[in-house]
Amino acid sequence: MPGGGRCPDCGSTELVEDSHYSQSQLVCSDCGCVVTEGVLTTTYSDEGNLREVTYSRSTGENEQVSRSQQRGLRRVRDLCRVLKLPPTFEDTAVAYYQQAYRHSGIRAARLQKKEVLVGCCVLITCRQHNWPVTMGTLCTLLYADLDAFSGTYMQIVKLLGLDVPSLCLADLVKTYCSSFKLFQPSPSVPAKYVEDKEKMLSRTQQLVELADETWLVTGRHPLPVITAATFLAWQSLRPSDRLTCSLARFCKLANVDLPYPASSRLQELLAVLLRMAEQLAWLQVLKLNKRSVVKHIGDLLQHRRTLVRKAFRDGTAETEPQEKELQEQGQGHREGLCSSLGPGPGAEVRRNAARPGLEGVPSLGARERVAYIHIPWDGLSLRLLGEWRLSPAPGLNWIHYCCRPGGASLLVWSRWHFQRHQPSEDRTWAARPCVVHRPWWVPVYGVMRSSTS
């Protein structure tokens, strides 16, 4: 407060130095009269110290909730209400939206992206609470396409640094199945198509678990698998009436969209069930095909654990009797698992029957171009190509093998580990010893697969 100044209007000495938009002024604090104004122009040296203030900082727009952000928050709440989520989800989703909005990339994004962001926040909240909501449902609700949704989703997960657990399949089955309108008779759904919810749910869950165990679910969109499983479950509960109904018609009856991959998933699931059916003695006689196996799904599901184990372990053993026949016929057949390597014509097969149970293993110290190895232990019979030698003494349990010239690498697969070696650089017959430790009574397994560069 400078001394000796008086306000011209009211005469008080209370003059305050105030700045109005960075222009310093002397203002009387009683009447508000502006006594002196600061210099309107600055000197050259003064201008050097000035800093440009960006619009976003000077207006403070980031601290306030902008109109589009308010709109977005309202949409988040509406979406949660439409999906009938518990009230705590709403608050979490709103918090995520606000957190995302603080990043400049989101704040300056197009309105379309902000729309999709609403869905992403809701999806993240649901996933974290293990509430099954698919991206497809959110996209249809938001009228957005999946590409935009997925792009924004990946971006927001990275920006916020969130750990989003994956979709819970069991819960998804429950919600998805409940949406099928087959549990009450109606004008479009005849009585014989109506089904009890609990039975269908449990059977669908078992089928989905089966699909999971047999590698039909990994890497694929879960919804078509569940559709196919529901269809099969529904058919199997009353096969006599329902076998005539196709998958498309079923979905129309149930008032559910048919996802495009569902028909191929259905075929795959039927193939798995057929393989399992081959293990059951009383079903082998019946010679089932894809339509008739539906009738026996109940039995198959009851024993599914043992059947799956047997079917898919014996699956690899099925090649064994075929290979045995090939061996009998001689060296004509080069096909099989090692077709790409293909030894030269005139290669001989010598079998060593000196040790029972080790047929096909060449005699000790012999060099073979091609050898068939019969492994009675678990029924695999494969072919080892290339030069190889057994260890010189029968007690020692290691082998050497060499790479074939031409650059192919061989794989020796044993019970405990497998090895695969690159061909040597100079591409000669240089031996690259591969030491495989195994008990003496276990014969060597042959080549599972080879690759040509």
């Binding site: 991206m135 989703y153 990946m154 690498s409 580990h417």
Partner: protein, 190 residues
């Protein structure tokens, strides 16, 4: 696995993307009209010199795309990339441009690797939480990022892995790093 067992996997390099400068202005129209094996893509504003039929037996499959900053060449391995780029620069020289081959740099390497086993993806993502991201609704593979190497691996359930990285060494290191994790979540042959 035994201590002395050594697993060597085949890493097949499918693509090497590199950039080099020619230090001269290239008239795209002239290249398109007079050059051999050229596809002129007008809408993108690029001129693509395609040398796929250059030498079939040994030579690389080489494709040169002129982008505003420099020239990209796609190839099979790093040395071949450099040879291919030089070859392309030479053919441009023959067209009459004063080309100086400078600033050769390999930008991206794409490789494919096949594991002998199948991989359980949900288990794998659970064990490797921050780096691995798996959205079955969007993409069938797990996307695993190694920040230190700036490499991205896409791991499929069949066991094939696609790796992209800044150079071949990074790609090989990435595969080595991922192998133990992938081995844990493999499908056991019953």
């Amino acid at each position: 696995m035994d201590a002395d067992s050594d697993v060597a996997l085949d890493i097949l390099i499918t693509n090497v993307v590199c950039v080099f400068r020619t230090r001269c202005h290239l008239n795209l129209r002239k290249i398109a009209l007079e050059g051999a094996n050229v596809i002129y893509k007008r809408d993108v504003g690029e001129s693509v010199v395609d040398l796929a039929a250059y030498t079939v037996s040994y030579g690389p499959r080489c494709r040169l795309t002129r982008v505003t900053g420099g020239l990209l060449s796609l190839n099979r391995s790093e040395e071949e990339a450099k040879f291919g780029a030089r070859r392309l620069a030479r053919s441009l020289q023959k067209l009459g441009f004063q080309v100086i081959f400078t600033d050769f740099k390999v930008v991206n390497v794409l490789a494919v690797c096949n594991m002998p086993f199948e991989i359980r993806l949900p288990e794998f993502t659970k064990n490797n939480r921050p780096h691995a991201s798996y959205e079955p609704e969007l993409h069938p593979a797990v996307c695993y990022r190694i920040k230190s190497l700036r490499a991205t691996l896409q791991i499929f359930s069949t066991g094939s892995i696609t790796v992209t990285g800044p150079n071949v060494k990074a790609v090989a290191t990435a595969v080595e790093q991922i192998y133990p994790f992938v081995f844990e979540s493999r499908k056991e042959i019953l």
